[in-house]
């Protein structure tokens, strides 16, 4: 079995691999820039040699060439940067898309496991943290191989001695890193995990700071934080002493190549051996920094990779979407259904959220004829909300059948099914936006007049009149806060606007005080007229709602339970 660190590393690799194609332009521009740089090095060498042996060709042409290549390199640099940004964008867009779809596939059940604020951070901050991996590390990793290879070719073509020296220095880098660094790499990875853990600890303590302060333990935690950081520093420095040896390999290779080439060409000049001109010598020396530049960029980009690895943990640990396969059996044909007069039936439905904790619905059967109201009553945990979530299609029965007008609920196309239903829950979600937009949410194509009519029917206009900008007042996150009763009226207005034949009400007054509850129930009564309604509530006032009552107990209708019907 893989441990979490390996999982994260494998996931990071897979992510990097997926954007490799998008990063190709950045690599191509980078490679072209390396080529231009070797050209410039050659021109520089010629000009400098010309000062000593005036035989290198016209100065103007050489300088002009140098200048043109400089402009070209500047342009290529900008192009490579822009291409890298595009790769970063493409990678994050793809990843965010995947995460979004995964979260949607998990559906409302996800809210049982994770706080929405935390998931929001995954979707925003954690995905953003992958930017460096996509934009810098991936191109740098490819260029770290191709760039030096290109310089090497040029060097060999110019002077096999220079090529040989660079090749030796180039090969020394991985070999030297391996020799000094096998232990160090493992240790530094572990060290990075320790560092990430310290960061996580800091974040964790800051998030829980209210708990710490109210427990009177702030000073103690501050000291513990300092001690942990100090301990980590001491351990890290022990590891870095070895780990930096492998970074020194790069420095050693660069310095070694320069010294060897300088001494070689100096000695060659003294010996008067022909064949190697001053211009070739200088060219070879000037190639050295170009040879190592991509390797150094790669080493610098490693920081980005580490940063991404830190963020990857939260992305890797997202829960898996439910296996559709567990709802065995072939998918029946998708059908649509007429939108008038819908009857609802549950036949011997079983369902458990968690098999180990027993069923929530245990052979539930009932029928609601078109246009009638059924009030589900019973203690908390009797399965009232589960019935409603099942009708909304958030969950599927483990066995048994749920049908609308005799058609299996899950054989109806989801869009058609959702068109039939309006739903009002305990605490309706008020989205960031104006009150009007919040109502229009139910039917985006509705006209202003229709929205105003729905607002009137739900008595939203009554409190909207007292708001600074009426229906155009901003509400929700960062806007004006609505009270529980006001939010519930917005939800009712949405249901009026949607005008669906089925109305599902899940504890719509649970969070309201009695006076507000009575007003909201009055609005709901008007909304219920002519629709098929299921109202789940344990509120006494809601039980006065006109309609047939069905008491749930232990996941079945009480009458059934009493009769012992399985």
């Amino acid at each position: 079995m893989k441990n979490p660190e390996q999982n994260i590393a494998a996931w990071t690799r897979a992510q990097a691999k997926a954007v490799r194609k998008v990063a190709l332009p950045a690599v191509a521009f980078g490679l072209a820039s390396v080529a231009a740089a070797t050209g410039q090095a050659w021109l520089m060498a010629r000009v400098l040699a010309r000062g000593l042996h005036a035989d290198a060709g016209p100065l103007g042409v050489l300088l002009g060439g140098f200048g043109l290549l400089a402009l070209l390199r500047a342009a290529l640099g900008v192009a490579a940067d822009n291409a890298a940004v595009s790769a970063g964008i493409a990678g994050r867009r793809r990843l965010r898309h995947q995460v979004l779809h995964r979260l949607l596939a998990l559906g409302p059940a996800l809210g049982r496991q994770r706080h929405s604020g935390e998931l929001t951070a995954v979707l925003t901050d954690q995905v953003e943290a992958m930017e460096g991996l996509f934009a810098r590390w991936v191109p740098a990793a490819m260029l770290a191989v191709m760039g030096p290879a290109l310089v090497l070719l040029v060097a060999f073509w110019t002077d096999p001695w220079a090529g040989g020296t660079l090749l030796g220095a180039g090969l020394f880098v991985p070999v030297g890193m391996a020799l000094s660094g096998i232990g160090a790499a493992v240790a530094s990875r572990r060290q990075f995990v320790a560092l990430a853990r310290l960061q996580a600890r800091f974040l964790d303590r800051v998030r829980g700071i209210a708990t710490i302060v109210l427990a009177g333990r702030a000073e103690h935690e501050a000291e513990a934080l300092a001690a942990a950081a100090d301990e980590l520093r001491r351990r890290t420095m022990r590891v870095l002493r070895v780990a930096f040896l492998s970074s020194s390999v790069l420095d050693l290779a660069l310095a070694g190549a320069l010294v060897v080439l300088a001494l070689h060409y100096g000695a060659a000049a003294l010996a008067g051996r022909g064949g190697v001109s001053l211009s070739t010598s200088l060219f070879a020396l000037l190639l050295v920094p170009e040879f190592f530049a991509p390797l150094r960029a790669y080493a610098a980009a490693y920081q980005d990779r580490l940063h991404a690895t830190g963020a990857a943990a939260a992305l890797v640990n997202l829960p898996e979407p439910p296996q559709e396969a567990s709802h065995a059996g072939p998918q029946p044909a998708i059908r649509t259904i007429s939108a008038h007069g819908v009857s609802i039936a549950f036949e011997n439905v079983h369902f458990a959220w968690d098999k180990t904790r027993g069923p929530v619905l245990n052979g539930l059967s009932f029928r609601v004829p078109a246009g009638e109201t059924l009030i589900l009553i019973g203690p908390s945990g009797a399965g009232k909300s589960t019935v409603i979530e099942m009708l909304l299609g958030f969950i599927r029965p483990d066995s048994g059948r749920v049908s609308l007008n005799g058609l299996d609920l899950f054989s109806i196309a989801p869009e058609a099914r959702m068109r039939l239903m309006a739903w009002i829950g305990q605490q309706p979600m008020i989205f960031a936006g104006s009150l009007r937009e919040n109502i229009r949410f139910a039917r985006p194509e509705a006209t202003d007049a229709e929205v105003a009519e729905a607002a009137r029917a739900a008595r939203v206009d009554a409190f909207a009149a007292s708001l600074p900008r009426g229906l155009d007042t901003e509400v929700g996150e960062g806007g004006y806060g609505l009270s529980g009763g006001q939010a519930q009226r917005v939800a009712i207005a949405r249901a009026f606007l949607k005008n669906a034949p089925v109305l599902l009400l899940d504890e719509p007054t649970a969070h309201l005080d009695p006076a507000t509850e009575a007003e909201v129930l009055e609005s709901l009564r008007r909304l219920a007229a002519g629709r098929t309604v299921i109202l789940a509530s344990h509120s006494a006032a809601a039980h006065a709602f006109p309609g047939r009552r069905l008491e749930l107990h232990g996941g079945r209708a009480l009458a059934d339970a009493a009769r012992g019907v399985a």
Binding site: L48, G51, L52, I89, S116, S380, M429
Partner: protein, 542 residues
């Protein structure tokens, strides 16, 4: 850049380390540049003068560069670790003194994580911004002096070009990044709001078939964010290109004059190549500095906000009684917000069990904040054991009150460490007793590591009900005679809520228990029920 200077001022006590690191880094830069120059000179001199100039110097510089770079890395990292630890601890202390309590009551978890991101953005301040800048500071005069010996006029031009590349362009990049930073922050928070809307409104979104619309909205905001980022990146790419062209212009000038002094030109060329390479990353460091400055502003503001309720200069001794009394309390969170309480009076006698009910937004949690001295009433007073808590120290008041809320944080630590937070001196037996009372002891005994089991971030390894029970065990372990349970069941499914409340009936019989909720299930064992409405408390039938 003023906030960055204030952050640097925090590091005064580490100045020795930081300066030593910078000095070593300068020495490493000097060795690297000298090596490059000397290798060019060696070849040139060999050809012109027919001698191999100072081969020993060349080898020594090569070795020196490698050794100095190694030492620099070690020292600068050692310095960074010290400075960062200081910054974190300072930030934590500041936050704990200031807005901490209020943040806990306002569900600002994501605000806090954003602040932590800001602190992390300051990590690169020394290593990625100041250290490269130190190298540039060293090279500027070196270029002038060295090239000036052969080409006085050229030296002036090179120094100007180097100054532009190393200081002017990075500073411009920093300024632009700082002003673009607010655009980016705005775009990111717009994306955050859209994501939060989708994730917390998932049921609405599915029930109204709005997935497509919500996805489109998120994607539109994502695109806006990307566009803003691309604008900043484009500008910084141009800054880098401009810095690069400065170096190229300097080279071109040297090359044009090479005929006059060939040997000097070779050395100058190699010097310029090496020097501009050192500062090539500075425009990007400038962008980082711009962001870091914006982060530093937010960090300073958060860590230096004053405590919302100052302790009295001479706090009274804590009374022995622990009856909690609110007398005609008036309170609002902010002057422009409506009153939460307006003449609220209620008394909670010692060892009584009461429920405080009310719709969301009625101020039930504010009641807990008032009792815990997280905020102070604008009129009226709160008394503990007959003494106005304004005359007591906050720490003393809190030592009398245990607090368990829907947001109570389980730390990413062991079960033991989480429990000990409430009572650092508790022994093993006391821990198990609290766990058993909270009816989670049996479960913890089945875990292979028992009390030393890691809880996982935010208690994620445990289910919601188990996490709440652990938090209850922690609250029970605290010796505080008053327990405030602020919507302890929110977010639990109905079965779990019921089981939790039944557990609650059996614990803390010798303490005051205040249960804050929006409704009762009818299974709670209570002496009294208060209902908050219209900013006042009304006694309700039990």
């Amino acid at each position: 850049m003023k906030p960055l200077l204030r952050i640097l001022a925090l590091w005064r006590s580490r100045a020795g380390w930081l300066l030593a690191g910078a000095a070593l880094s300068m020495a490493a830069v000097a060795a690297g540049v000298a090596l490059m120059v000397q290798s060019g000179r060696a070849v040139g001199i060999a050809i012109v003068a027919g001698t191999l100039a100072a081969p020993f110097l060349l080898r020594a510089l090569g070795a020196l560069r490698v050794i100095l770079r190694y030492a620099e890395r070690l020292l600068t990292h050692a310095a960074t670790f010290r400075a960062l630890a200081d910054l974190r601890v300072w930030f934590f202390r500041g936050l704990a003194k200031g807005s901490a309590g209020g943040l806990g009551f306002r569900r600002a978890g994501d605000v806090l994580s954003r602040l932590v991101n800001d602190v992390e953005a300051l990590d690169g301040l020394y290593l990625r911004i100041l250290i490269p800048l130190a190298g540039a500071v060293l090279l500027l005069p070196a270029l002038g002096i060295f090239i000036g010996r052969t080409f006085p006029l050229l030296a002036a031009a090179v120094v100007v070009l180097f100054g532009i590349a190393a200081f002017v362009l990075p500073a411009l990049a920093a300024r632009q990044a700082k002003s673009a930073g607010s655009d980016l922050t705005r775009a990111l928070s717009a994306l955050r709001v859209a994501a939060l809307d989708l994730l917390s409104g998932m049921k609405e979104v599915l029930a109204f078939g709005a997935e497509g619309r919500m996805l489109a909205q998120i994607q539109a905001r994502e695109d806006a964010l990307f566009a803003a980022q691309a604008r900043v990146a484009k500008r910084s790419a141009w800054a880098a290109a401009a810095a690069f062209l400065c170096g190229q212009a300097a080279l071109l000038a040297v090359l044009a004059l090479a005929g006059a002094a060939p040997l000097g030109a070779i050395a100058a060329t190699f010097l310029i190549v090496a020097s501009f390479e050192v500062v090539a990353g500075l425009p990007r460091a400038g962008v980082l500095a711009g962001y870091a400055a914006a982060s530093a502003e937010r960090v300073l503001e958060a860590a230096q906000s004053p405590a919302p309720v100052a302790d009295p200069p001479h706090p009274l001794a804590l009374p022995r009684g622990f009856t909690l009394r609110f007398e005609a309390v008036g309170f609002r969170w902010q002057p422009d917000r409506p009153m939460v309480f307006d003449g609220l009076s209620l008394e909670i006698p010692e060892r009584s069990r009461v429920a405080i009910l009310g719709p969301s937004g009625a101020g039930k949690s504010t009641l807990a904040a008032l009792a815990l001295k997280v905020v102070a009433p604008q009129s009226g007073r709160v008394l503990l054991g007959g003494v106005d808590i304004a005359a007591l120290s906050a720490a003393d008041v809190r030592s009398r009150i245990g607090w368990l809320s829907q947001n109570t944080h389980l730390f990413d630590d062991t079960i033991r460490a989480n429990l000990l937070l409430a009572a650092p001196a508790a022994d093993e037996q006391a821990l198990w007793a609290a766990l058993d009372q909270a009816q989670i002891g049996a479960f913890v005994r089945t875990l292979p590591d028992g009390l030393d089991t890691w809880v996982g971030e935010k208690g994620l390894r445990f289910s919601g009900g188990q996490g709440r029970r652990l938090a209850l065990a922690r609250a029970l372990l605290s010796p505080a005679p008053i327990l405030i349970l602020d919507e302890p069941c929110s977010g639990l499914d109905a079965d779990t809520e019921r089981a939790f409340l039944l557990t609650l009936n059996e614990v803390a019989k010798d303490r005051t228990v205040i249960l804050i909720a929006h409704h009762l299930l009818g299974i709670e064992r209570l002496d009294r029920v208060w209902r908050i409405s219209g900013g006042r408390a009304l006694a309700a039938a039990c």
